[in-house]
């Protein structure tokens, strides 16, 4: 099934990594994937498949949760990065937006955004420009700029978290469920932003997303993860038209979209899980 291998220059590649939490819980059982330069790659899969874990393995945030990469390697621009600290990674342009928002509750929205630029040594003017750029993307944040993030609504926090990452001027963004809790309009907007950054500034994205429909519309390439293994991969287009994907991840049957009201209470086993 290895179809992508030789496409563009592999910016980020993960080779056969295995992750264990708490010394005993094996979560990733040999995951390999690659993000070519300037592309958007979607990482799909059910709850608990290991998407977040994969992203954290890349950005080296696992250790803080007592998880360990026990096998395999992670490379970025041809260099191994599995031993680098998150700070180093951000400096090299790799940044993660964590699942579940993680804003700094006691800081105001604006201070949150400013901390995002911590690794950049830039002038006040540039900082202001970056800030304006984020406000431009998320006007809602501007109206709440002086509120403590802890008191803002779920969606506002989500925007804040994404905006904060953008402040670092990244080259490679690992987005964990960016659409969660956002109004449909904003979801579209966020993906537009992704597209925009991707097109204009060549930023690459690896996004773990549950909103498969949108994700596959914007992504160039997709991986499907189940139970800690990659079970399917391919061009976004290809995946979008795959019958299994359609049925299980897009909720489309041959008869088109089914109303949520009418789904029956049964589950078909996914063939690839046995």
């Amino acid at each position: 099934m290895n179809t992508q291998a030789a496409t563009a220059e592999n910016y980020l590649s993960i080779n056969n990594i295995e992750v264990i939490y708490d010394h005993v819980i094996l979560v990733l059982k040999g995951v390999s994937l690659a993000v070519p330069k300037g592309k958007i790659v979607a990482l799909l899969g059910a709850n608990g498949a290991g998407k977040s874990t994969t992203l954290k393995a890349i950005s080296n945030l696992l250790r803080a949760e007592r998880g360990d990469v026990t096998k395999g390697s992670v490379e970025y621009k041809g260099q191994r990065i599995d031993q680098l600290s998150p700070n180093e990674l951000v400096k090299r342009g790799v940044i993660q937006v964590m699942e579940g928002r993680h804003c700094f509750g006691h800081l105001t929205i604006e201070e949150n955004l400013l901390t995002g630029a911590y690794t950049r040594s830039i002038s006040r003017g540039e900082l202001k420009d970056s800030l304006e750029k984020v406000y431009h993307y998320f006007p809602r944040l501007k109206t709440r700029r002086t509120s403590q993030a802890g008191y803002t609504s779920g969606g506002e926090q989500q925007m804040c978290a994404i905006g904060r990452a953008l402040m670092a001027n990244p080259e490679m963004v690992l987005l964990d469920e960016p659409s969660m809790g956002l109004a449909p309009q904003i979801v579209e907007e966020i993906f537009e932003i992704v597209k925009d950054l991707n097109a204009r500034e060549q930023v690459s994205f690896l996004l773990a997303e549950q909103n498969t429909m949108v994700a596959l519309r914007y992504a160039d390439f997709g991986y499907i993860l189940e139970n800690g293994r990659v079970v399917m991969e391919g061009d976004a287009e290809e995946l979008r038209t795959n019958e299994d994907v359609k049925e299980f991840y897009l909720g489309l049957s041959s008869a088109g979209r089914k109303s949520f009201k009418d789904v029956k209470h049964y589950r078909r086993r996914k063939r690839w899980l046995s």
């Binding site: 264990i20 708490d22 010394h23 005993v24 094996l26």
Partner: protein
């Protein structure tokens, strides 16, 4: 695959809700109890009884009390020793002033008195959280000890505030040897530990843990924060109070208010944290660790120094002892921030898989 649960199916919820659903645990515990009640009294020396086992049990009980409050209900407290002091002085006064009160009843009353005081000092917890509360409980620590030294009535007008525990007699039998005292303490501790285990696995415990983990959510699902927190304070202080009474009656024999110092409160807190916050077993493991480690170092260090002919003076040895103690605390936290109990659990999980890595 030493520690295998496979094949142990539960056919009823009752069976699944047993104290120890896994057979190995059950057998292990029974063996342990048999050892504690029968084996130890036959073989242990007096030193073991009065210098190790009795204080171990008493501190375990106090740690258990604190663990209920801090580990289960999430209210950090630094005043444990003061509640023990309340227990000790209350027991003394009940014995002294109520003619013919059986000693066990005195212990219970001591616990209840401590519980009352605990509720009083628990009141602020309704508004104050986290480390703020911890520092506030220091008020209890200092205030209670001060009261005990200032109101001579409490120590039967002893000029120094020191009290000497009366002799223990239950149904005409005098508990005066270390072994007798050990058995008495053991019985009380086992009963109370069992009660604690029962509480934490039932609604009471779940309410505590809910408040600990997220009190807003807890209140939304119908838990009354005030009642739950105060109950935790009361039960915890009860345990500490009984521990304090035992400390006076079965361990030291005579106590002074200053003996229940902040230092002791901290020591008990160490036990809870090192043993495992929110674990009954952890309270025991922690007590053993914090109590035995210094003794071990005290014996081992001079021995090793002698072995290698190092010219350590006594002072240096003592200093190294403290230093190593601190280093080991940090070491264990780094290895497992959730304490020895968690380490034990992980070991069990590994054993379950053993000899296969996954």
């Amino acid at each position: 695959m030493l520690y295998r649960e496979a094949g142990q199916f539960k056919t009823s919820y009752a069976a699944d809700q047993q104290l120890f659903p896994i057979r190995q645990d059950r057998i292990g515990l029974l063996l342990l109890l048999a050892l504690a009640f029968v084996g130890v009294p036959m073989f242990a020396s007096e030193y073991w009884f009065s210098a190790i086992l009795i204080p171990f049990l008493i501190f375990s009980l106090a740690a258990l009390g604190l663990n209920i409050l801090t580990g289960y209900a999430g209210q950090l407290s630094l005043g444990t020793a003061a509640f023990m002091a309340v227990g000790a002085y209350a027991a003394y006064n009940f014995q002294l002033r109520v003619e013919g009160m059986p000693i066990l009843v005195s212990f219970i009353c001591a616990g209840l008195t401590a519980a009352g005081v605990g509720i009083l000092f628990g009141l602020p917890s309704l508004r104050i959280k986290g480390f703020y509360l911890a520092v506030a409980t220091l008020a209890a620590q200092f205030f209670i000890v001060w009261c005990l030294t200032k109101f001579p009535w409490l120590s039967n007008n002893s000029s120094s505030g020191v009290i000497s525990a009366q002799n223990i007699e239950i149904l005409g039998y005098a508990f005066d040897t270390p072994r007798d005292k050990y058995l008495l303490v053991l019985a009380i501790v086992v009963l109370l530990a069992l009660a604690a285990k029962n509480m934490v696995r039932s609604t009471t415990g779940r309410a505590w843990m809910a408040v600990r983990d997220m009190d807003v959510a807890a209140s939304v699902i119908g838990i009354r924060l005030m009642r739950t927190k105060l109950l935790a304070f009361a039960v915890s202080s009860f345990y500490c109070g009984v521990a304090g009474a035992l400390y006076a009656y079965c361990y030291l024999g005579s106590v002074e208010p200053d003996g229940f110092s902040l230092d002791m409160s901290f020591r008990i807190l160490f036990m809870v944290i090192i043993g495992g916050v929110g674990s009954i077993l952890g309270s025991f493991l922690g007590a053993a660790f914090i109590l035995l480690l210094p003794i071990f170092l005290d014996i081992a260090l001079p021995f090793f120094a002698g072995l290698f002919g190092l010219p350590f003076s006594s002072a240096t040895v003592s200093h190294i002892q403290i230093l190593v103690f601190g280093a080991l605390i940090m070491f264990f936290l780094i290895v497992e921030p959730h304490g020895l109990a968690r380490l034990w659990q992980i070991a069990k999980e590994k054993l379950r898989l053993w000899p296969f890595p996954h």
